[in-house]
Symmetry: C2
């Protein structure tokens, strides 16, 4: 299935012409790469500029290819699929948010059918479906329930927007809300909402045109994270990994965490990685467990690809006894830094 | 099997103390990563410096982690497993060549048994086994044959040394030589020698303590490369990939190659990648074939991981008719640039 997104090529062309750029790097999350060939050809032809498609993985707005741009002596980046993260301004980067054009009526109605007890419904989504949030709120209201959309906050640019690492917008409405509907594909963000709030969360999936309760998936995930934390506690030799991506580099946190680990008798080393994947980390055979200080979702989403436990910052604090397991996922990212 | 290498930790400590460095990045090829944990702990303790282990892949002396060092605000790199490439000087990089301590007598004798017709034997190896090259020459002489070791040249620092991308040292003795013995593990470099010279090449493998004739492996490889070139010729839409690694970035070659492709009616785009792997490239579904302008060995060694043809610079010149297939692998890298 090739999905439909609004890629705003006219705005991109205007941006390139106005900046008088000569060489432009286009960057995409995986799902938008299939559009790359045509976009590059069109933009080169229309704007008379040299285009380079960045083929490296890109998993979020924290991962803007500024080093690649500089290495390639490109003038500007067009970054597709994410909105700028609050407080992280990169020069000569144009964001194309890639709003999806899929209809949300059917999945939101199906989600409401699963929520017969709950009255106040929090709505949240990712950048792709923000345009349909008001429409979803109307559907909730027509169904006789009260919709809530949290104001922009944390790293989120827009009301109702959640990021894999930031659930500030749902936290801000949580006192008023009985349950959540997350509009979007995958379980990733919905599990994040359920963890952040402890409340029932339903995915309204515009791609599959279905709704699903995330409760049991979240429970399975929690069980797996607890198992990883327990295994981590038994490890004697730990690697603390610093991510090299622009918005994921956190040297001071890594150093502080390392002190904490050494204090409780673990032997630790620092590592750095652009991609925190098993192919890169597991050759360090003596290391029995890893802490990933880059994106906090890597440990959660990629654990199954690793033979050894990998924890994020928050989970490591739980493992060493500096945070309570009951509070897992409940506090904002600002409280998770050591 | 954990292999034995000379890691010269005393020299590393002296280098770090003399430079008064504060934070040092250690970089390893895959086979040396298992030593990383202990090395990091030892160096930190002895030199009073903060050590970070680079976990990213490292496949050659062309891949020195200077950008990672700068991003991590480290003062210096200790680069294990390669010697500096001629003409590429990086500041604050200390090379530990990691000479192997495996004995070569048995495999070299076994290699000689396979060479009953040939009289003049060229010897070549990688950095790890250079210390045993003179010993190998003596064994050849004692066996009643004439050993030849080519002088340092091209990108190679030492006499008799070959790199995956540079066979200048064997080319320099080829007029005098009937066949080659390559001392080292794997088939990679030996196939390179056979291609570069067209002469019979035997691997004397110090790890497996055996010898093997590379002729049929080289033939299979040639057959596969010809198939890839033919498939490439049918492709309408081509991606020309620029590598982002320090010593593999070749923007001008990529641009020139692209012109060549457009001239014969192909539609092309430029891409950039740190790791030229199928996971990064194949999501660009419209692109039917790739040219990799980074390391010339990537296309040859990784083709089987790709569903689409990937060619190096030289192979692309053959595909577009600018070079003869009969000369494949025969010319030095300086002649391969467009």
């Amino acid at each position: 299935m090739r999905l439909m997104f609004e890629l705003e090529t006219n705005k991109v062309l205007k941006y390139i012409r106005r900046g008088k750029y000569h060489r432009v790097l286009l960057q995409f999350p995986e799902g938008l790469k299939p559009q790359g060939f045509k976009l590059a050809r069109d933009i080169e032809k229309e704007a008379g500029v040299e285009v380079i498609l960045s083929a490296d993985p890109c998993f979020g707005a924290c991962d803007v290819a500024v080093e690649a741009r500089d290495l390639l002596k490109a003038d500007a980046i067009v970054h597709y699929g994410h909105s700028p993260m609050v407080g992280r301004n990169f020069k000569n980067v144009f964001y194309v948010e890639a709003r999806a054009t899929e209809d949300v009526d059917e999945p939101v109605k199906k989600a409401l059918e699963l929520l017969d007890q709950e009255k106040s419904i929090g709505l949240a989504t990712t950048i792709q479906h923000l345009d349909q949030l008001e429409r979803a709120a109307k559907i909730v209201r027509d169904y006789g329930k009260e919709p809530y959309i949290g104001e922009a906050g944390g790293q989120a640019t827009y009301a109702g927007q959640v990021l894999g690492c930031d659930y500030s917008t749902v936290r801000s409405i949580d006192d008023d809300v009985d349950a959540y509907i997350f509009i979007g594909g995958g379980d990733f963000h919905a599990i994040g909402i359920q963890l952040a709030t402890g409340k029932r969360t339903i995915v309204a999936d515009p791609y599959l045109k279905q709704a699903r309760d995330i409760t049991s998936a979240a429970k399975v995930m929690l069980k797996k994270r607890w198992a990883a934390i327990t295994k981590f506690q038994d490890a004697k030799r730990v690697g603390v990994v610093i991510g090299l991506k622009t918005g994921q580099k956190n040297i001071v946190s890594a150093e502080n965490l390392r002190k904490l680990l050494e204090n409780i008798g673990k032997e630790s080393v620092l590592l750095s990685a652009r991609e925190c994947i098993p192919e890169n980390l597991e050759s360090f055979v003596d290391i029995e467990a890893f802490v990933i200080t880059a994106c906090p979702r890597l440990a959660i989403d990629d654990q199954e690809r690793f033979r050894k436990p990998i924890l994020n910052l928050e989970e490591t604090l739980i493992a060493v006894g500096s945070k309570r397991w009951q509070d897992y996922g409940r506090l904002g990212p600002e409280q998770e830094a050591t």
